[in-house]
Every structure is written in structure tokens, then in C-alpha cells.
């Protein structure tokens, strides 16, 4: 935001060494992000073909010495007409939004607790938040199968306590998907929230109390507005990967759990329809970019009013 003023001339003043250092990440991004993205974008305008790779090339140069460039829009029109894709998009956004909200409700008190804990405790608590990352994501999601299954420890405990008389069906439900999502992405929520809350000057809360605010009121009038940036960052970090999540709905969800990541996977690997899978990916990307742009607009408007 604040760098836009210097952007025009920053390159001119740099010597070769600096350009080289700054250039490396750009080359990296171009090679491993931009080029693949363009390839996916290109494939999305192709059509399937029984070949290797299984797509019709966009450019053909036949024996008749004609260079042909064909752009198939059929994938996009197909997606627009088939309600399955729309439903999958809508359901993904819904699941991601609910998971983000749950992660926020759970993560905020956690982050608050860590930020206000005695200094010597903080690093330990912090480690506990990050500790799950030491194990593979896939393994952790699979572990939930064991925990949630009919004969798993959760059902066994509830049965023993007499709370339930029949094992609960938890696996292959939306509940399991939400659980997996919140569990997996919670650290991404806690970390930015922690750094926002930690920066908050405790004397501001004392000032609010001094001016007549009870603790809950002070939270909504002071703490929440002053940590809004952390909230936004945490929500984006959870929401973005959640929308396109494949593993969690595939492993924990049932056949009814329709998510766009899963649709994409099936188109790609089961139907071997690369072009359709690519157009789903492009649309997913556009959806997320649109979401981020809207949020940033809101944020910069807030910043401007400050």
C-alpha cells in the first residue's frame, strides 16, 4: 500500500548485485508459479483427447501448412450449465466460511491466552500450537478416522459414560469435515491473532475500564477493533486453503460432501478430463482472488478512514 509511491523508480537506482538478489525470487515465481499457471489456463481452453497428454493442443500445424489456433470455451459453458459444479462451489464456500468462523471462535481465546500468559510459558504454549506440524498432514487427518470410527475411542468413552447407548456415526459426515478443517487450519488462525493481540497495549484496557467499560464491553470496543488486522489475516489463511481442500473431505467426508477440490480431483484423475479440471481450477482461483480483493478494499477503506 505504502510502497506504490516508490515503485516507479526503485529499479533504476539499484546496482547489478542488488538486482540479482531481487531477481532470484522473481525468476523463481515466474518459473514455478506464473508459467504453470499459464499452462493450466491454456489447458482450460482445450478439449480432451485420447492421447498423451490427453488434450487437444491449442496450436496445430497440419500438413496443409496452416497454423491453427483453437480456443474451446466448452468447458466453461459446461460448468455454467451443470448445476453440480455450481453446487460444489457454493458448498465449498459454505464449508470454508463455517470452518473459518469456528476456527476464529476457537482460535481467538487460544491466542489471547497465549499472548497474556507469563513470558516463560508463552514459548511452550506456542510450541504446542505448532507441534502438530511436526507430523504429516495426511497422517493427522487419517488419525481422525480411527478416533471417529464406530469402534473408536470417542464412541467407546461416550458409551462407557452412558451418555449414548449406540455408537454415533461421525465418520463420513459434514461434522467430520468441519472437525478436520478446524483442527488442521487452527494454527494458521492462532498465529496471526497472537501477534495482533500481543501488540495490544494492556494499558488501553485499563483505560477502557477506567472510563467505565466492563471487561466484555472493553473487549468489543477496544480489543476487537485493534486486533481486526490479525482477525482478517487469520481468516484469509484459513479460508483460502479450506475452499479448495481435497484431502479432508475425501478422507473424512461422506459421498454427500460435495467440495470443489474433490470435483477437480475426480475430473482430473478419474475422468482424465484435464481441460475441465483446469477450468474448475481457474474458476476457483478467480473466486479466491475476487474474495481477497474485496477484503483488501474493505481494509484499505478502513485504513483510509483512520
Amino acid at each position: 500500500m505504502s510502497t506504490s509511491g516508490v515503485r516507479v523508480s526503485w529499479l533504476a537506482g539499484l546496482n547489478l548485485g542488488r538486482r540479482l538478489v531481487l531477481g532470484v525470487p522473481y525468476v523463481w515465481l515466474a518459473l514455478f508459479f506464473l508459467v504453470p499457471l499459464l499452462i493450466v489456463f491454456g489447458i482450460s481452453f482445450s478439449t480432451p483427447k485420447i492421447a498423451m497428454p490427453p488434450i487437444e493442443p491449442l496450436f496445430t500445424y497440419g500438413a496443409d501448412k496452416v497454423l491453427q489456433f483453437r480456443l474451446y470455451l466448452s468447458n466453461y459453458t459446461f460448468i455454467a450449465q451443470d448445476s453440480l459444479y455450481l453446487a460444489a462451489f457454493a458448498n465449498s464456500v459454505k464449508i470454508a466460511l463455517v470452518s473459518t468462523l469456528l476456527a476464529l471462535l476457537l482460535g481467538y481465546p487460544m491466542a489471547y491466552g497465549i499472548a497474556r500468559a507469563p513470558k516463560s510459558w508463552r514459548s511452550v504454549l506456542f510450541l504446542l500450537v505448532v507441534l502438530p506440524f511436526f507430523t504429516s498432514f495426511l497422517l493427522r487427518v487419517y488419525a481422525w478416522i480411527g478416533l471417529l470410527s464406530r469402534s473408536g475411542p470417542i464412541n467407546a468413552l461416550l458409551l462407557k459414560l452412558g451418555i449414548i447407548h449406540e455408537p454415533l456415526v461421525m465418520l463420513q459426515t459434514d461434522f467430520a469435515v468441519y472437525l478436520g478443517m478446524v483442527y488442521s487450519y487452527l494454527p494458521f488462525m492462532v498465529l496471526p491473532l497472537y501477534s495482533a493481540i500481543e501488540k495490544l497495549d494492556p494499558s488501553l484496557l485499563e483505560a477502557a475500564a477506567d472510563l467505565g467499560c466492563r471487561p466484555t464491553k472493553a473487549f468489543f470496543r477496544v480489543t476487537l477493533p485493534l486486533t481486526s488486522e490479525g482477525i482478517l489475516a487469520g481468516c484469509l489463511l484459513v479460508f483460502i486453503p479450506s475452499v479448495g481442500e481435497y484431502v479432508i473431505p475425501a478422507v473424512l467426508g461422506g459421498p454427500g460432501t460435495l467440495m470443489i477440490g474433490r470435483v477437480l480431483w475426480e475430473e482430473f484423475f478419474n475422468n482424465r478430463d484435464w481441460p475441465l479440471a483446469s477450468s474448475v481450477a481457474v474458476l476457483l482461483l478467480l473466486l479466491l482472488v475476487g474474495f481477497i480483493v474485496v477484503l483488501q478494499r474493505v481494509q484499505s477503506r478502513e485504513a483510509a478512514s483512520e
Partner: protein, 381 residues
């Protein structure tokens, strides 16, 4: 213990206390931050808690605000026991050392914060905020955010925010600490004039004795969690009740001595650092031969090149000393001298520079020191 004559203008001691701190202690673990402090603060006065950092003055202030609960003892404000009342229910407001302005709110919203919290009608809030901002001379800054203000302006926003709720008691934690010298001096007088206009009782915490002397109606000197002396600024300076107070407030020469002549109207104190005893023109209550301290302020000592004339009633040489000037600092209105006495003891002396053209006493000169019989303060604590 003190039987010395009091200062000329004694503040009305019989005025009913507005704030009563009754045997209040505060312990954090094993550390006693405030120990058995009792203190009465009168309505409409500016009371300064003065002490070095870590003396417990801020803890005491925070107990008045309600941020800390006393481990024992009680606090009354205007006849109401507020010992266990939370800060949001106290008729008290505080100006924080860091100002603690809400960074996400404008100047106007910062000042209106407490009034909105009380659910006052919007028009009244607007009027009161406008009045308060006019008083602290911040008209035209209503829509600014705290980070767009200078230190002095922030300080005034903090003051306005604390005063707009018309508290019974305003607590100020090092109110001028973050300002530069020039601004401090101006702000000191502004604070006093605002306080006089509104009649709000101020309790100020400071480590800066000059600030305390300028602002305070009365000063409470604190050390290690206890209040050593409560008195008007002149009294604290001229009649300190202990070695610590004498040493803490201003500059002083302290002597250890022994009471050798104890009469109702005068005493003599023998001191190893001086050839002749001190003659003090009033009686003190201490046992004969008692070990006492004598405090002598630098400005109460006269320097001369010639032997001072003898004084009636004093034995020759009493209340005088001789030595050599070791150091001189010319500060404009006064000059400060460091004189090494013949016995080796170094004494601080300050002399007003009354004349522009004068042969001032300078380095390595032999000088006579003399002082009035009323100048030494005898301390038994």
C-alpha cells in the same frame, strides 16, 4: 518528634478528608510494594506522591484507580468504601503515563469514550467534548488520530478524556514525564490552572521533585512502600522529618553528630567533620548524648574570604568552618561550590550571584563558611 516551629502557612489540617487511605498494604508474592500506608487527601487539593522508582507510589495510585486491590486496609472516596469496587464503577479517572489513547479512535471519540459508555444523550456528549477540547486548546483537532498528534497534544487529549467524566478524583501517573523541558514548564502551569478552574481533586505520582514542588498543595514522600512525610512543599524542604527526606528533596549536606548541650531554647551538636559544634537555636526532643543527624542546605551557607563577625550567644567558631574551594560551577542565577574542609569533608555550598561585576570566589581559595543558627535541621530519624 519534631518540636520545631512549623511553616508560616499551614494548610487547613482540620479539613475533612475526601480520600481516606487507611492502613493499606499491597503485597506481590513476598514483596511488599505498599506497607501500611495511611493518608488523607482533601477535596480540591493537588496531592503529589513523590518517590524514586519502585517505592510503591504507582501501586498506591493503581489501588486508588481500582487496578489493584489492597492486600489489607481500606480506601474511602467521598465517604464511600471503594476498596473492592472495580475500576469501571469508581468515580475516579486516570491519566496514564503512556496516555493510553485509543489508536483506532479520533481525538473526539477518545474524549467521548467514557461519556458514550455512560449512555449520555448524543447532544450532551458533543457539547461536553467540545467544551473540554476547547479547554485543553485542541479545537480543530477533533478528527485527528492519536498518531497524528505531537507528544504535548496527546497529553492534552489524555487529560481531556480523563476530565470529561467529571471525576471526583483525577489520578495522574507521571503526567509530564514524556514531555520535553520547555513544554513541561508550560504544561505544569496549565495543569494547575485547569485544576483550579474545575476544582477536581488531583493525585499525582512523580519521581521529579521539581514537578512535585511546582504542582502540589501537599507532597507525600514515599520510600520502600512507606510514606515518610506528608506536608506542603515548603515544609518538606525546610523541615524534613528524616535523613531520607532531607536527602531526597533538593541538595543537602548531612552530618552525623552527638548531642552535647540540650537546652529548651538551643542545642549544641558535636560533629567529627567540624572543628566546632553546631549551635541550633531551638530545642529538640532527644535524649542527651543521643546520636543525631544535622542537615544543612547548600544555599543556607555563606562563603567569605574573611572570618565572619562573632554572633551573640555563640562560642567563638561555632557555626563556622574553614576550607579550600575544590570546584566551582557558575549556573547563572547561582554558583555552586564544593569546599573541602580542613578535616577533609567536602561540603556543597551555593551562593546567589547578586552582582554582575564581582570578584567571585574561585578555585583553590581559602574560605570561611558560616550559617545562621536557624539553618541546621536536626534529624533524629
Amino acid at each position: 518528634m519534631k518540636t520545631e516551629p512549623g511553616p508560616a502557612s499551614v494548610p487547613a489540617d482540620n479539613a475533612a478528608p475526601y480520600v481516606r487511605i487507611d492502613r493499606v498494604s499491597k503485597r506481590f508474592g513476598n514483596h511488599a510494594a505498599v506497607q501500611d500506608v495511611s493518608l488523607d487527601i482533601r477535596k480540591g487539593e493537588i496531592f503529589c506522591l513523590l518517590g524514586a522508582s519502585g517505592c510503591g507510589k504507582t501501586t498506591l495510585l493503581r489501588m486508588l484507580a481500582g487496578f489493584e486491590t489492597p492486600s489489607s486496609g481500606h480506601i474511602w472516596i467521598d465517604g464511600v468504601d471503594v476498596t473492592n469496587v472495580p475500576p469501571y464503577d469508581r468515580p475516579v479517572n486516570m491519566m496514564f503515563q503512556s496516555y493510553a489513547l485509543f489508536p483506532h479512535l479520533t481525538v473526539e471519540s477518545n474524549v467521548a469514550f467514557g461519556l458514550k459508555q455512560d449512555g449520555l444523550p448524543a447532544t450532551e456528549i458533543r457539547d461536553r467534548v467540545a467544551d473540554m477540547l476547547a479547554m485543553v486548546e485542541l479545537k480543530g483537532y477533533e478528527k485527528r488520530k492519536p498518531h497524528q498528534l505531537s507528544g504535548g497534544q496527546r497529553q492534552r487529549v489524555a487529560l481531556a478524556r480523563a476530565l470529561v467524566k467529571r471525576p471526583k478524583l483525577l489520578l495522574l501517573d507521571e503526567p509530564l514525564g514524556a514531555l520535553d523541558r520547555k513544554l513541561r514548564e508550560r504544561t505544569q502551569f496549565e495543569l494547575v490552572s485547569i485544576q483550579e478552574r474545575l476544582g477536581v481533586t488531583f493525585v499525582i505520582v512523580t519521581h521529579d521533585q521539581e514537578e512535585a514542588m511546582t504542582l502540589a498543595t501537599r507532597i507525600g514522600v514515599m520510600c520502600a512502600g512507606e510514606i515518610l512525610q506528608v506536608a506542603a512543599p515548603t515544609e518538606v524542604y525546610e523541615y524534613p522529618n528524616s535523613r531520607f527526606v532531607a536527602d531526597f528533596i533538593g541538595s543537602v549536606n548531612l552530618f552525623d553528630g552527638r548531642l552535647i548541650d540540650d537546652e529548651p531554647d538551643h542545642v549544641r551538636i558535636e560533629c567529627a567533620d567540624l572543628k566546632h559544634p553546631f549551635y541550633v537555636d531551638h530545642g529538640i526532643s532527644a535524649s542527651p548524648e543521643a546520636q543525631v543527624s544535622v542537615a544543612l542546605r547548600p544555599e543556607k551557607i555563606s562563603l567569605s574570604r574573611e572570618e565572619p563577625p562573632p554572633v551573640d550567644g555563640l562560642n567563638p567558631g561555632e557555626n563556622t568552618a574553614t576550607g579550600v574551594v575544590t570546584d566551582v560551577a557558575y549556573l547563572g542565577e547561582v554558583s555552586r561550590y564544593l569546599v573541602t574542609l580542613d578535616g577533609g569533608r567536602r561540603i556543597r555550598v551555593s551562593q546567589p550571584n547578586l552582582h554582575r561585576h564581582a570578584e567571585r570566589i574561585t578555585w583553590d581559595e581559602r574560605v570561611w563558611l558560616s550559617w545562621d543558627a536557624s539553618a541546621p535541621v536536626v534529624l533524629t530519624q
